[in-house]
């Protein structure tokens, strides 16, 4: 499978863009590897275009009959501060601590 055919489905540039959006960083080898694998997968997925969906509605929820699920405006379910911060990788007093947001 030559690069030309592969690039039709996804280019290395797009892989880098998508990696940035996903907060992943890939080295050149990684970009190349993922580009090949994703292009393969996307090529297979092209077959979806064979299906005529002109008049078809999308299914976003498997049980389309469920609608209007609510909870009432009542205090419920809050957890103690220590439980909330228990898994925090770093904390400062009662706050989560993160490197500075530039």
């Amino acid at each position: 499978m030559g690069n030309n055919i592969n690039n039709k489905f996804i280019t290395e540039e797009v892989v880098r863009y998508v990696a940035r959006l996903s907060r992943l960083s890939l080295d050149d080898e990684g970009v190349s590897r993922f580009q090949h694998q994703l292009a393969n997968i996307l090529e297979y997925i092209e077959q979806l275009n064979e299906v005529d969906t002109k008049d078809t509605l999308p299914t976003t929820h498997a049980m389309s009959s469920i609608k209007n699920v609510f909870r009432e405006d009542e205090l419920k379910g809050s957890i103690p501060l220590e439980d909330a911060l228990e898994n925090a990788p770093q904390r400062h007093g009662n706050f989560f601590k993160v490197p500075k947001v530039i």
Binding site: V15, V18, Q47, E50, T56, T60, Q90
Partner: protein, 473 residues
């Protein structure tokens, strides 16, 4: 008397006869599991102290509860309060949820002895249980083979007799495919039948928690315990839970089973089609009527799934970046650097692949062509089944096109790995209940599984048919 973990009733009888405090039984079970698991690695880890501690809490209770003292393995993506729950991933290293999943509350209220963290493909991405950061699980039937995935550990724990039952999760076949490859019963309920609250999400519109057992009767019991409306889950359905155990005695006379031609074409192992065809004969012998049906959009199921599932997963996994929980990389000076380093170090290759694929199909310019298109094809797939259920009560297919493959065999070919799920994926896309039951072995001695799918909320029909078949076999 030797311990009997082959089914719930046999185990409970043994437990009563044993007349020992639950804590010492628990200690014995842990010890036994650790020995058996040396070669199999069904468990990411067995927390002996936690298990015995839980047993001591139950000891004070009076022994009532449908699952009292029954050892149940829990897949590593179902939250148990205060216990390590890490989805087979480095990025959730050290994470202890401060709350129980709803299904855990239900199991505990029936006295089940939770045996901890069954190994799984990282974040449930996989069909072989090879992508866990804790290393692979092996198939108890042949240690050189994979058990299937992503609930490979839960299935292997049951199949190797370390536990009586297990809870797994199924997004594209993750309960049924491994159950089929290891020769046990696996059930994916209708979407919305079982609460997802506390199930660490992979693909929210496809995930369901389900039971893994040795036989259909136990499966019915487990389903009764874990099913039901949960006000904490907007997608759970408020429909009464039937007594599934009552379906066991109903027999199958008068039922019609649809055989879809698309599931019996080339690409299936000969052994698999032979065993499944034999099973069809058995069912016909019991009085079942079979009809040929067509599910014409079957061949698009994998493509459809591999757009929708990674898309939802890419969003569900965005929260793992070391800010509020999980592993934070020590190597970062600024915020974005921290996000990137934590995620790079924390996620394995398959996770990254799916995140990239999912982000891509949702990104600006590609959404219509990919995500929206897949959602429409999903409608078509669901409609195929709607039409089919006009003429039959359930649909019968092989669960997996092959028996278990060798460790490492498909790791370098993601697409080939994805195609392992070709028969199970449609049930998730359409939200249907589905069960796999063992139906024999291939020439290699490896198990073959038979799948049955039914209308939404027709779990009882599946129990009815599967049990009748199992008893006759």
């Amino acid at each position: 008397m030797k311990e009997d973990l082959s089914d719930i009733n046999a185990y409970k009888n043994w437990l009563i006869a044993r007349a020992e405090p639950l804590t010492s039984v628990a200690a014995m079970l842990v010890d036994r599991a650790s020995r058996i698991d040396k070669d199999i690695h069904a468990f990411a880890a067995i927390d002996a102290e936690a298990i015995v501690r839980r047993a001591s809490r139950f000891e004070k209770k009076d022994g009532k509860g449908r699952l009292w003292g029954v050892p149940v393995a829990i897949k590593d993506n179902i939250c148990i309060k205060g216990e390590l729950t890490t989805c087979g991933s480095r990025i959730l290293e050290g994470f202890r949820p401060p709350y129980n999943a709803t299904v855990i509350e239900k199991l505990q209220s029936e006295g089940a002895l939770l045996m901890g963290r069954a190994n799984m493909d990282e974040f449930a991405f996989g069909s072989s249980c090879e992508t866990s950061c804790y290393g692979p699980t092996r198939n108890p039937m042949d240690l050189s083979c994979i058990p299937g995935g992503s609930s490979g550990g839960a299935v292997a724990a049951v199949a190797s007799g370390q536990v009586v039952a297990a809870l797994g999760s199924d997004t594209g076949g993750s309960i049924r495919q491994p159950a089929s490859l290891c020769g046990v019963v696996g059930f994916k309920p209708t979407y919305g039948r079982v609460s997802r609250y506390g199930l660490i999400a992979f693909a929210s519109s496809l995930d369901q928690i389900g039971p893994i057992t040795h036989n259909v009767a136990d499966c019915a019991t487990m389903l009764e315990v874990i099913s039901g409306y949960d006000e904490k889950d907007s997608t759970s359905v408020d429909i009464e839970v039937p007594r599934y155990t009552e379906s066991l005695s109903k027999g199958v006379k008068g039922l019609t089973i649809g055989i879809p031609s698309e599931y019996f074409t080339g690409g299936i192992d000969k052994d698999v089609s032979e065993r499944v065809n034999e099973a069809i004969k058995v069912l016909e012998g019991l009085g079942v009527k079979t009809v040929d049906i067509s599910l014409p959009h079957t061949k698009y199921a994998v493509s459809c799934y591999y757009i929708i599932a990674p898309a939802e997963a890419s969003s569900n996994l965005a929260r793992y970046e070391g800010v509020h929980y999980g592993r934070r990389s020590p190597d970062a000076d600024d915020l974005i650097g921290m996000y990137i380093a934590s995620r790079n170090e924390g996620f394995g290759l398959e996770a990254k692949r799916r995140i990239l694929l999912g982000t891509y199909s949702l990104s600006s310019g590609y959404y219509e062509a990919y995500y929206l298109k897949a959602l429409k094809v999903r409608t078509k797939i669901a409609n195929d089944f709607n039409k089919a259920f006009d003429v039959c009560d359930c649909v019968l297919t092989p669960t997996s096109p092959t028996t278990a493959f060798k460790l490492g065999e498909r790791m370098d070919d993601p697409l080939k790995m994805y195609l392992s799920d070709i028969f199970t994926i449609s049930a998730n896309l359409a939200g249907l209940p589905a069960i796999t039951v063992p139906c024999g072995e291939g020439r290699n001695g490896l198990p073959v599984g038979l799948q049955l799918m039914a209308r939404p909320f027709a779990e009882d029909v599946l129990i009815q048919v599967a049990h009748a078949y199992e008893q006759k076999r």
